[in-house]
Amino acid sequence: MKWEDINEGDELPPYVKGPITREGIQAYGRASGDLNPIHMSEKAAISAGLGGVIAHGLNSMAFVCQMMTSWLGKDGRLKSVDVQFRGMVRPGDIVTSKGKVVRKYEEGGQKWVDVDIVQETLTEVAKGKITQFENVGIEWEESAKNGWLRNGDQLTYEVVKQERGEDKKNRIEFRIYRKQRSILGKATASF
């Protein structure tokens, strides 16, 4: 990405990772040296009151760095990144990093852009099927047993499969996700 081609207000291509796995979290722990039991052991994470293992915040931060470096390519360099960890990432989560150019400027003989960062995490809390038209109803295949729903959580859904049967009923399979922010932050790139 060339500095000349960037405009304030531009959005970076969203960078999607996941679903996060327990094995992946453990591999991150071994590679980074952070073997804190809240990441490595289900039992320890539960006894710490977390309900289960959580991913390393620094791995989520690594996704932000990856979004920046893949957007910049060979033309620009990631100069700084500053994040606040706002929500926990858990096995099964889909993690999407997003960025928006908020400032483009020249300073000290160099060219710069500042990017605001938001990282959103989707946790599957339920999946189900709806048969529409004649018998409207929802059949819950699985309750929200793996969810960590709290007041104020934002929910979103995805239609996994949709078909119209010979009986002219629509059968829709869907998943419901809790959406939260795992990271808020900013980054600066130099050119």
Binding site: D34, L58, N59, Q66, F85
Partner: protein
Amino acid sequence: MAEEREKYREYIGRELPPGKPYKVTAEAIQKYAQACGEENEEYLSGKIAPPAFSSVYTLKSLGGVISATKGLIKNPLKILHAGQAYEYFEPIRPGDELVSSGKIVDVYEKGKLLWVIVSATTNNQEGKKVSETKITIAVRPGGF
């Protein structure tokens, strides 16, 4: 919200014990790049460290945070990693030997949490600065 800082005055400015030098290898870069989901071939090959590799060497060379905060944090399981910032100067390649020095820049209570801010500077074997790091941790009630 008011920040209660006075009773933590003695910790503010305290230097962390110097960390052991960290020798960068292509294998460590590869292992980290793979584990953190890196997609860039240059980083996956281990030729140069991705920016997020800072998390490895700062952790390895900052073992002193716990001892420098002795008496302050009573239960490490109550620690939340609230924030992290990196500023980059020189690229990091296999063979580099990195030394970090850190200090506690702020300690205060706010909103029932104890906040501890640590900063660190990492230099390479040529004495050139490769990065600066700021770590923000929050300790939940019962942990301090």
